[in-house]
Amino acid sequence: MMTEQQVKEAILAAGINVDVDSLKPSDNLSDAGIDSLDFFNLFLELETIGGKKIPDDQLDKMTTIDSIIKFYAE
């Protein structure tokens, strides 16, 4: 399980310069300004928190906080 708050904390821990307070779970993270290298950092933080590596073929699905929560719920 991963919560919305944990994903937001991972975004901050990854050093990504976005306003997490205004991010909604359904917002597209790329549209919010998270670029491809930010995602690499974010995935590392998420893997530390969630204890599960996101496979390369699942990366394209990690577009929103909701999709990340869903991945870690499965």
């Binding site: 050093g15 670029d35 491809s36 290298l37 930010d38 690499f40 950092n41 995935f43 590392l44 390369d56 990366l59």
Partner: protein, 315 residues
């Protein structure tokens, strides 16, 4: 005691403008400026060979340090994985001929990428000391433009061509301190050539660097008996701004010590650390103790300490 006496470099004049190319790859100029860091990517001439770049770096070294006479060079090591022609014979032999060096010269290549400078320093130091030789030159010359697919977004915005030459000899300005090495062949597919074209799994390379390097820096400092506060600069391989930033975030109070200088060069593979040292460290008298760390293809990594050879620092 063998150590570093000087560094010189050669950066080709021609270059690609990454800011102009950003849009074609679907990236913003901000992404280039803040994450990649490489505004320009130097490119060798089409007919310019790896050995030509090496010879030019060597020429600039002997020009900058006239006390190093070409006839006095005992050993020449070329760090490259993109040597002349198809890689046989070794590029170091071709450099000997083109530079007009004595034939009483030990010359060989070292096949390593971004970790190659740290390895090369210690290989050459050990070689000179065990052979009773005095002067060695370590060349880095690995022009990735030979193998980059210009349409590959993963690699085309990153790598620049450059060569450096480092003089190792007695009574050095900088002493080579403790060093640590690492290898993990599990990463062999992350960065490799397929059909003479470079392919890169960016995420795999990023994860490797982001997770391996910071602990290696700490292990090196522990081995050397120094703290991060004692270090004047961390000279990491300049893979991209993003990777240097990611590693430096693991050292919250020391982040400003992690040098970043790849705007005019891009990722120059094994040349990035000697370029940093030449341009940002050796002429700064406030710099007395620096950590160097190279990491990349293989995976291979190496971290070492350099200490200015002055009383109080040369332990």
């Amino acid at each position: 005691m063998i150590g570093i006496k000087g560094i010189a470099s050669y950066i080709p004049e021609e270059s690609l403008d990454n800011l102009q190319r950003a849009e074609a790859f679907g990236e913003t100029q901000s992404f280039i400026e803040k994450k990649i860091g490489a505004l320009k990517l130097p490119r060798k001439q089409a007919l310019e060979e790896t050995s030509d770049m090496a010879v030019e770096a060597l020429r600039r070294l002997t020009e900058s340090f006239p006390e190093l006479e070409s006839s006095g060079i005992d050993a020449l090591v070329v760090v490259t994985q993109n040597g002349d022609g198809e890689g046989l014979p070794h590029t170091a032999a071709i450099v000997q001929q083109k530079a007009g060096l004595e034939t009483a010269l030990a010359a060989f290549d070292v096949s390593l990428g971004c970790s190659g400078y740290v390895y090369g320093l210690h290989i050459l130091k050990g070689f000179l000391e065990s052979s009773g030789l005095t002067n060695g030159v370590l060349i880095t010359a690995d022009p990735y433009s030979k193998i980059i697919d210009p349409d590959d977004k993963n690699t085309s915005l990153l790598f620049g061509d450059a060569a450096t030459a480092t003089w190792l000899g007695e009574s050095p300005d900088w002493v080579l301190g403790p060093v640590l090495f690492g290898t993990d062949g599990e990463g062999q597919d992350a960065l490799k050539t397929v059909g003479q074209r470079l392919t890169m799994n960016g995420r795999q390379v990023f994860d490797f660097a982001a997770t391996k390097v910071a602990p290696h820096l700490r292990a090196l400092m522990q081995k050397a008996g120094v703290s991060e506060e004692d270090i004047d600069a961390f000279c990491l391989h300049q893979g991209s701004y993003a990777i240097v930033d990611t590693i430096s975030r693991r050292f919250r109070t020391q982040q400003e010590k992690f040098l970043k200088d790849l705007g005019e060069t891009g990722n120059t593979v094994s040349s990035s650390i000697p370029l940093l040292l030449e341009r940002n460290v050796f002429n700064d008298q406030a710099m007395n103790q620096v950590v160097i760390s190279g990491f990349g293809v293989g995976f291979s990594w190496a971290t070492g300490l350099l200490t200015r050879n002055i009383k109080g620092y040369n332990k």
